[in-house]
């Protein structure tokens, strides 16, 4: 039984790649955790597509302003230097290439960079939100995800079988087992848990993992949660 990373630990690892002074959009849910783990001495500015730049943590219960929420409709607070704007300006930031990083969740990521994260299929009430805009706007699109589904199915695949959010848009994937880049339409393994062998990792990945240089040990502080 592999001791895979928790969501918080995956988020911690993703946070280590966020440089000082960059503009970041975090998808609803799991990706929101990344904000908790900004490395000391670095300050990123967080963008939420519903019209706030420079927001901070959730307020204490009872102190919410319900006109001050994030894309997930959760109450937020402001940091010094924040700004409000309308939705067209907000997506001008996204689509116009002004965001440095977007970190999103995924149902599936394909080795060609395709992402599926908005619809599980025709039986769903479809809901897309801002995901399709984010994947084409940010300079770098990263995904945080379990390496496999609850049922053990690979989420990293040759081609997505679920409805696409965007074509050839993902640059890097942080999973519960590894850190993988997408380069020239191939998965390139950058880091893996030391306890997982390359064969084991390949067996839960539905497309070839290319090795290009050293594969670094993926280590996360034990107290991250």
């Amino acid at each position: 039984m592999i001791n895979k990373l928790s969501n918080a630990q995956i988020a911690w690892r993703a946070a280590q790649d966020i440089e000082d002074g960059v503009y970041v959009n975090l998808g609803i849910g799991f990706p929101e955790l990344v904000a908790r783990f900004q490395p000391a001495g670095r300050e990123a500015v967080f963008h939420t597509e519903n019209g706030v730049l420079g927001f901070g943590a959730a307020p204490p219960s009872g102190a919410e302003h319900w006109d001050l929420i994030n894309a997930g409709k959760k109450a937020i607070t402001l940091k010094p230097g924040a700004a409000f704007f309308h939705h067209a300006d907000s997506f001008a930031m996204v689509r116009g290439g002004h965001l440095d990083v977007a970190i999103l969740g995924a149902y599936q990521v394909a080795e060609n960079g395709d992402l599926a994260n908005w619809s599980t299929g025709p039986n769903d009430v479809p809901a897309v939100g801002g995901a399709m805009d984010l994947v084409h706007g940010a300079k770098r699109v990263a995904v945080v995800t379990e390496h496999v589904t609850k049922h053990g199915q690979p989420k990293l695949v040759r081609r997505c079988s679920m409805p696409l959010t965007g074509v050839a848009c993902v640059n890097r994937i942080y999973t519960s087992l590894a850190v993988i880049d997408i380069e020239s339409s191939r998965f390139v393994l950058r880091e893996k848990l030391p306890a997982v062998s390359l064969d084991e990792l390949q067996s839960v990945t539905a497309a070839e993992l290319k090795i290009d240089g050293t594969v670094v040990d993926l280590t996360v502080p034990g107290d991250v949660s």
Partner: protein, 239 residues
């Protein structure tokens, strides 16, 4: 010029059957609950307006505001980006029963289409949704070696929006992230109705801080203590 001589009932009395109505807000933030309820009361009393096409980012939450409006059966068609919420049963039930049509639009495209409607831009190109199911039947074109989708403007007969301060000329400011789609919808409708927390005489809003210039606004109604969808739902309210 005085655009502030309306009450909630008068503000929505002439929305006709079959109208396209934009409603501001992102979830409950910036949602004009009192205007929506005024429209719903008129529908309950008169059976009109019916067969509405609604334009809102979401599809309501619970049994107040947009959710209640959808529940009552006056909405034929919804154009939105995210018809899912903690409790969006009002919409999902009608959607699954095929009693309501849905046009799903990515959020940035949704915002830009509304702005285009207000700005007299009949169509534009965007990379968003290219190669996805939401690109079906849309023209594509290549610019500088990259492919883009063509999207059309979105306009409305009426916009119901929520703002913070309004003056006699219809100039508006907003409150925090309650701004969202409200300034865009104000531009894109033939008749824009704004509920504001406070009406002030012309000249009281600093011209530098006006977010929506009055030219985009037709009617301003004061609702000094507006309700918030989130709080209504936490209290289990049903309208």
């Amino acid at each position: 010029m005085d655009k502030t001589k309306f009450n909630l009932a008068e503000a929505v009395v002439d929305i006709p059957d079959g109208a396209t109505v934009m409603i501001g807000g992102f979830g409950g933030a910036g949602a004009p609950i009192e205007l929506i309820h005024s429209l719903l009361e008129r529908f309950r009393a008169t059976g009109h307006p019916k067969h509405l096409t609604l334009v809102n980012n979401n599809a309501g939450n619970g049994h107040v505001g947009l959710g209640a409006l959808i529940e009552c059966g006056t909405v034929k068609r919804l154009i939105c980006s995210f018809p899912r919420s903690v409790d969006s049963r009002a919409f999902s039930q009608k959607y699954r029963a095929k009693e309501i049509e849905l046009e799903l639009v990515p959020q940035g495209t949704f915002a830009e289409r509304i702005r285009a409607g207000g700005a007299g831009i009949p169509a534009f190109y965007t990379p968003t949704a290219l190669g996805t199911d939401l690109a079906r039947n849309k023209p594509v074109a290549e610019f500088d070696g990259r492919m883009y989708l063509q999207e059309r403007w979105l306009k409305a007969d009426f916009a119901l929006i929520k703002a913070e301060v309004g003056d006699e000329h219809g100039n508006l400011t907003y409150r925090m992230a309650g701004r969202n789609f409200n300034p865009l919808m104000a531009m894109a409708a033939q008749c824009t109705v704004a509920q504001v927390r406070r009406i002030v005489p012309a000249g009281r809003i600093d011209p530098e801080t006006v977010v929506t210039p009055g030219i985009f606004v037709t009617r301003v109604v004061e609702v000094s203590d507006p309700q918030q969808e989130e709080q209504l739902n936490r209290a289990g309210a049903i309208f």
